[in-house]
Symmetry: C2
Subunit: 405 residues, 2 copies
């Protein structure tokens, strides 16, 4: 794509109330636009990153048997009342309409329980794993962390339905691996740790995936060697003993919760009467698990952990383009641009009338993994540099393209 | 996909208050689930259809230079006030939160006007065409038409920004053609007509795309030969004269509005101060157009117009699967299923323990374009039938697959 046709430009000014690094970089680079505190719109570059993250997650959810659905945002009071959670005293972040009778999905747990009733009746109908990419609305009082804590955000939420605890446990372990594959693929696997967290309803622990970052709102105790962590919330001598970790191996770290998995067990099924018949026709409550990843938060985490003073450093897997092609004289990039497009390379071609300095600065800010520079100086060759490296190589066009394929 | 793994089953019972044919068929077939009046969730089969419709629209929007964005649902009171439309007297279908200060997008017109300000400053920055697939929330009092009129629905909305009226007019004509390509590609082109409708702010007319259907809420006067229609709202002797249509060529028809395009011109830009500098540095208001298609409504229109007493008849382009493979004896479909999957054919394989009668009935209801039946009787061949045809052919596996590729 030609940069002169790109809708957005990089920005120098920021909204006054913006304090988070992730939002600052994403706004400056032209990835997002701030609508309200904790509410962001995605611009074309942002949509490209978001779509790549979404597709990686989708592939991993499909791989383990997930089926995609899309639930509504508007929700029924009566459904939530069946599980006794409509109350503002229990859920204090709810957006409701002016009548107070329609809710805007802060979660889809109760509605999904209500919906599966129509399609799960027998043990033969399970296991069922359904997931969606859908907005959540949460009236967060502290929406100061940019895209890390939004009042509106897209979440991948998967729900598992099994006939027994063994089935649930087995799928839960499968999901742990799928989540680690996702965080690996988006480029933060090496700083993301499975973390014991408070269990809630059914089990002593749930599990979070925590990415080390000074921007994190969570504190974890990390056993780097054992690749396991414990959220401060549940940290105690007895917990250490239970999971077999020694205090001396732990370091305190700030971290961002990029994923969360937990087991409802039969708690909600019992409350809401979601049951199935076994072989003998006897009714039992369904075993349920819930597995979430916030897409905007994940994007923001990548930005927080993979950027430098000049801007963002996107991993290849989620970058808006593979190559930023920069010409220093009008038209000098045309030939290579055509070659790259013909080979199906995702290229942003800086064909603007701007100084080399402006172009390099914008390129570092936007953070595309490869920078290709063509000029009188490079002649029939092109200067290739990775965003996160100081070293540039002068290569023929074909050799440069070879680096990408 | 094996039907035994499909999350949904066909349903015999319907929600009590459901009266619309499209919703009845989509609920029975397992495409959608009704959450509230005018609020539907999409089940796996529904997501497959929705995604295909979305991708067709996306291709056509990209083809004419559209850039995809994704705006937030939560909206700022202050932005709407700048164009004087926050008032419930002006927009009576608004969902607002309990404070009355946050709105849930009934439209994105004002927020997009506000957003482009940051990226359009000079005549060089235009034209700009941005679009999204995003939820709209409208507190419709008459939400009785299933997915034709939802209180929550996904819309493709594109906004055009040009430096002058000529640019706007030219793009508007380009969009007319793109819309007709979309309706052609989803299978309703032959019954969909460009229709003169009320213009509103800037022009005498806007244009709708109206699909003939007895379920339609609109009345149009259609000149079939001239391939043009006039919405009853604007029908008059002087209008007929103006657009050069003779009354005797017109027939009154009920129709569904599947698309709508209109020109704001400079009206909103002036109100909201969205301007650009021309070559001499003089400021002018931007010329704006708006172009919408509701995805759920489009799906519902296909169902309303392409179904029979037994169920839905999906066009190939948007069908959830290309083939419904039905085995009459346990395992007799395995070989062909494997062959189809290997060739990349989207196949739903009915491997359930069910009677042939039940399988055929469900197959007609779900409406996949090709039905392949294998049984003892068909031997090494397969019985192939189109959903909308009574005629079946007995073909070798390879010949049958050849029909699809």
């Amino acid at each position: 794509m030609r940069q002169t046709s790109l809708y957005t430009k990089t920005r120098k000014t920021l909204p006054k109330d913006e304090v988070a690094t992730n939002a600052k970089l994403l706004i400056k680079g032209g990835f997002v636009h701030k609508e309200l505190a904790g509410v962001y719109s995605y611009l074309p570059l942002g949509v490209r990153v978001l779509t790549k993250i979404e597709n990686i997650i989708r592939e991993e959810m499909n791989r383990i048997g997930g089926q995609e659905i899309l639930m509504s945002s508007l929700q029924d009071q009566a459904v939530w009342e069946r599980n006794d959670r409509w109350s503002d005293k229990k859920i204090d972040i709810w957006f409701k309409d002016r009548t107070g009778k329609v809710g805007f999905a802060w979660s889809h747990e109760e509605p999904i329980m209500n919906m599966v009733r129509h399609h799960i009746g027998s043990y033969k109908d399970m296991p069922v794993y359904v997931y969606q990419f859908q907005n959540k609305f949460r009236n967060e009082p502290r929406a100061k962390s940019g895209l890390l804590r939004g009042r509106e955000f897209i979440m991948k939420d998967l729900y598992s339905f099994n006939v027994d605890g063994e089935g649930l446990d087995k799928f839960y372990e499968t999901m742990k691996k799928a989540y680690m594959r996702i965080f690996d693929r988006v480029g933060i696997g090496n700083i993301t740790y499975l973390t014991f967290a408070s269990g809630g309803l059914f089990t002593k622990f749930s599990h979070e995936f925590q990415t080390l970052s000074s921007a994190g709102e969570d504190v974890i105790y990390l056993d780097k060697k054992g690749k396991i962590a414990i959220n401060k919330e549940v940290m105690s001598e007895s917990v250490l003993k239970e999971i077999g970790v020694s205090k001396k191996d732990l370091v305190e770290e700030k971290a961002i919760e990029v994923g969360n998995i937990f087991k409802f067990g039969t708690k909600y099924s019992e409350n809401m009467g979601v049951t199935f018949k076994d072989k003998s026709g006897k009714e039992h409550p369904v075993y349920v698990g819930s597995y979430g990843i916030g897409l905007g938060r994940l994007m923001a985490t990548i930005v927080e952990t993979l950027s430098d003073d000049s801007g963002i450093i996107w991993p290849d897997s989620v970058a808006p383009f593979q190559v930023h092609l920069i010409e220093l004289e009008k038209g000098s990039g045309e030939t290579l641009y055509k070659k790259l497009e013909d080979r199906g390379v995702e290229v942003l071609y800086d064909d603007r009338d701007a100084t080399p300095g402006e172009k390099f600065k914008d390129s570092d800010l936007i953070g595309i993994p490869w920078r290709f520079v063509v000029s009188k100086k490079t002649g029939t060759k092109v200067e290739c540099k990775r965003r996160n490296s100081g070293k540039a190589e002068l290569l023929t066009y074909d050799k440069a393209i070879g680096k990408l394929l």
